[in-house]
Symmetry: C2
Subunit: 359 residues, 2 copies
DNA sequence: GTGAAAATGAGGTGCGTACCTCAAAAATGC
DNA sequence: GCATTTTTGAGGTACGCACCTCATTTTCAC
């Protein structure tokens, strides 16, 4: 049997109340007694039973997740992953609430954030572009004791407690190597697409990409980034035009979203499957395009892990506990057709066999 | 506030005892009453508080992890990951015990497994090659109500409850594409190494590799696999000899372990960094070789995830609960120098800031 | 309608911990 | 040595649920 607080008390020759005072860092205990208790804890290998502790505290964790109201498959998939993770974490006294804000409206976002502290929240996870007004809103939240976690795109100058997502510069570098190695030694031009050249993640990806290509693949000519502003229409136009004028293009690096429009325009001009196409985020459509050979490789992050990590980090921050950096690191995953993970739809929940009850 | 069993009882107009009978599937409740209770549960959105439930059950989970006593960095790293995960899970009433068995001794392994049921275990995770005697031992365990989970290498014919690890065939395919694309269109020979051509995982990797190369990269000539029997000595010999005789070799696929010996022999004969070298498992030495450009790409699995997944699956099986297939799927990761995750050593635990107590 | 069986209610205890109060003991200042 | 402060002990309640017993009510077969 695992030792309990009672065992500690007996071993240390003190009362339960004293053990409790030591364990919960309450005042009014002599140094010497504290040491005696800690020695007993050491000796017996006591580990506080978190389930019981949280129960006794009747601590609830209401967390806000704030996402833009973009309709992109990525944000939608992320929202789903968070909802999923939240419903499971409900059994552990977690109560996750999703909030959406108008994508381009920094003031609406700030207003939303400002309204949170009064509503019983003990943490906020946020995916949003960094603006001055957002910085202030986040500072205000933290002053009120609400930890703030940045999702997907970092907010380094806001004082956020933690960032959950991949290193976009490294992701760009990875795209760079893949592009270079897949295209081979022959000279070629490469097209780069991004919805906005001002967004932090786009800038970092481009920087990482260039870094590697310049260093290791001098035979490649990377053309200036094309902005799509998140519009499929624009994307189709600029890509068609550029590909018409630059017959030497053999690779496309799509840093942002709009993959549906991209595969469509490639198909229209008869280049589908003939270029090395590297993009980000394994959405359902990208998965399909990967299977069909329209997209060569995808740099992605596991949104399930990201969602679960978000919950763990929020909780740890709310409890002011340390977190396991290794577990919370979101890896940059490379997905090819050959290592495409089984689709979440086809991966039905496995249910335990009926018979055989455990001991 | 979240609804509790009492709320359910009130809502359904029954007593607490009846709610309890329904929740825990005890007999002696009319269909109609069961439905009334379930309706109330639905209506109030009740979620059983697992922490409280487990506390009340005073359920402890003592789990055995059985690994070969090989000194390979891989097994060692795996053992460490499991120990780590176990020490964290201790707070959730988990008690993980590692056992090692002599790598080539199926009888010793069977004896070890047979001794487990008497020792208060409620689950076993096992990494071992499949033998008839092992099949019997596993059957015996399951008859006694102990769930058995296969680690890293599957044991499909033993009736194990679950397999935790990557799909080795898909891993081989992934290695195949990388090899093909990295080598480019020029004809080339490829060397394949494995410690034993009888081990299930080696066979599957080779099969997947061949599948892709034959289909998509006809310019490649994949030489017959070389067996190293886990000996660095043997590996160095056979590789040196083969590379001497086959000057057209431009790629090496190392399916098994012995990467240290491989990089060494390549260095000796002056080919270090000049071949496309693809191997498995991101051990400390492989990481170093990747950084140094001696190894081109690594197919790996995240051992931290694998370890945590093992604990979750063991627990779910012990409780006869369904598990989240998506979360438990171990992905095939591709690691290049550019997306090498930060070393676990340098990834120090992040500690929460002292001030700011949560609401 | 009667008796037996099935279903339900009422109430209690315990899991391991947190947190509280009040009294008693020990240490401290002077 | 006394008064005062600090430290410690004893005991209780609560968290949400599991599991038990025993009495009572309802249902059903005949």
């Amino acid at each position: 049997m695992r030792p309990t607080v009672n065992d500690i008390a007996r071993e240390a020759g003190v009362s339960l109340a004293t053990v409790d005072r030591v364990l919960n860092a309450r005042p009014g205990v002599r140094e010497k007694t504290i040491r005696a208790v800690n020695d007993a804890i050491q000796k017996l290998g006591y580990v506080r039973d978190l389930t019981a502790a949280n129960l006794a505290r009747s601590r609830n964790y209401r967390m806000a997740v704030v996402l833009p109201d973009t309709e992109s498959q990525f944000v939608q998939t992320l929202a789903d992953a968070l909802t999923d993770a939240g419903s499971i974490a409900a059994a552990a006294r977690m109560d996750l609430r999703l909030h959406r804000f108008p994508a381009e409206d920094a003031h609406a976002l700030a207003a939303l954030l400002t309204s949170l502290p009064g509503r019983g929240y003990s943490g906020v996870a946020l995916m949003a572009p960094e603006t001055p007004i957002l910085r202030d809103a986040i500072r205000a939240l933290r002053t009120k004791g609400l930890p703030v976690v940045a999702l997907v795109s970092d907010l380094p100058n806001t004082g956020r407690d933690h960032f959950i997502g991949i290193d976009n510069r490294a992701a760009g570098r990875t795209a760079g190597v893949l592009m270079g190695r897949f295209l081979g030694p022959a000279p070629a031009q490469v097209l780069v697409l991004g919805q906005s050249l001002l967004a932090r993640d786009m800038i970092e990806r481009r920087r990482g990409f260039d870094e590697v290509v310049l260093r290791d693949f001098p035979q490649l000519d990377v053309l200036p980034s094309l902005e799509t502003h998140g519009s499929g229409q624009t994307l189709r136009q600029v890509v068609a035009e550029r590909l018409g004028n630059a017959p030497g293009v053999r690779g496309i690096y799509a840093m942002g979203d709009g993959h549906r429009a991209l595969t469509q325009v490639l198909d229209d001009i008869g280049l589908s499957g003939k270029l090395v196409v590297i993009c980000h985020e394994l959405t359902p459509h990208v998965r399909q395009a990967l299977e069909g050979g329209e997209i060569t490789a995808v740099i992605t992050q596991n949104l399930g892990h990201l969602a679960r990590s978000t919950l763990r980090v929020l909780r740890a921050k709310a409890d002011n506990l340390p977190l396991d950096a290794g577990q919370e690191q979101i890896r940059i995953e490379i997905v090819l057709r050959e290592n495409l993970p089984a689709s979440p739809d086809s991966a039905l929940s496995t249910f335990a066999e009926p018979a055989v009850t455990a001991a």
